[in-house]
Assembly symmetry: C2
DNA sequence: TGACTCATGTCAGGATCCTGACACACTCGA
DNA sequence: TCGAGTGTGTCAGGATCCTGACATGAGTCA
């Protein structure tokens, strides 16, 4: 019972397990990154910025699924640490293109290895085929729920 | 390139898509629950409490992946709304067993249908087999990362 | 040129959650 | 019996993120 149009047992609800997985992963990343002096948000921002050099705060915020205000705070911390630099004046429009500094890139490389280890540990029990399928299914879920759909 | 021991393209990193899926799902649940006057946290707590009647704050907190303090705040809101009741004195030990009221159960039933709709929309593009596999894979990921592992 | 729209950066305020700490209640073993 | 260990509820403080709002710069079009 307790089915009749509802969600059913939470342990078998994809949404519940999805949040659980995201929470556990974030925790594992946090413990892996803490010794390196990086938060999960900072690492994610560095990784994004390394792959999209010259991004504005707004672009990074969208890529990291947070608001511009939140990303502004993260970027400020990264700038204070000397891992990210932004020009004082906008070269065009209002956007201030951010770039990873050499020191930031070194830090990112260490962090990236650590995070890759966590991801590998998470996926250790899955065959390459299953990993591909898992990724594809998650992307399908995202596409189905996105506002534009 | 940019592979060499690192994470690789973020769009193909399971962790990135996992967080994206969790974020999009939470947003969709929020818009679905808002008309019913429920937050996602409140709904999750009601659903958990309906399936585990008499749970304490600490038990609910563990089940919802938050701290006791956060769950205390959510429960206080639910009690103020009259959807959850707790005895004034602990019948045993210090734990105060919480239960969903009749009014709360009515509200939960509506919310559960709404959330089930969101989940169905998210999984619409997946066959039953793929849904089962997705659930199993996510559970595998959780088990592989859990502290006790 | 001027009005409109859109995107960006920023400020102010509030909501949510976390870490750290403390006191109380039960259980178990010396 | 009593002490340690565990689990629970709660308070205080801080960190992170969000909503709402505003001003600025660029592009579009009458």
């Amino acid at each position: 019972m307790s089915q009749e149009g509802g969600v059913g047992d939470v342990d078998r609800a994809v949404g519940y397990v999805l949040k659980q997985a995201a929470t556990v992963l974030r925790g594992a990343m946090d413990t892996a990154l803490r010794p390196l002096g990086l938060t999960v948000s900072q690492y994610a921002t560095l990784e994004l910025l390394d792959q999209r050099p010259g991004s504005s705060v707004a672009e990074l915020a969208r890529a990291a699924f947070v608001t511009r205000q939140a990303m502004t705070g993260v970027l400020a911390g990264l700038q204070d640490a000397g891992w990210v630099s932004r020009p004082a004046v906008a070269p065009q429009g209002r956007a201030l293109p951010a770039t990873v500094t050499d020191e930031g890139r070194r830090r990112l490389r260490e962090a990236s290895v650590a995070v890759a280890g966590v991801q590998e540990r998470m996926l250790a029990g899955l065959t390459p085929d299953r990993r591909e399928r898992l990724l594809a299914d998650l992307q399908e879920c995202v596409a189905a729920l996105e506002p534009g759909a």
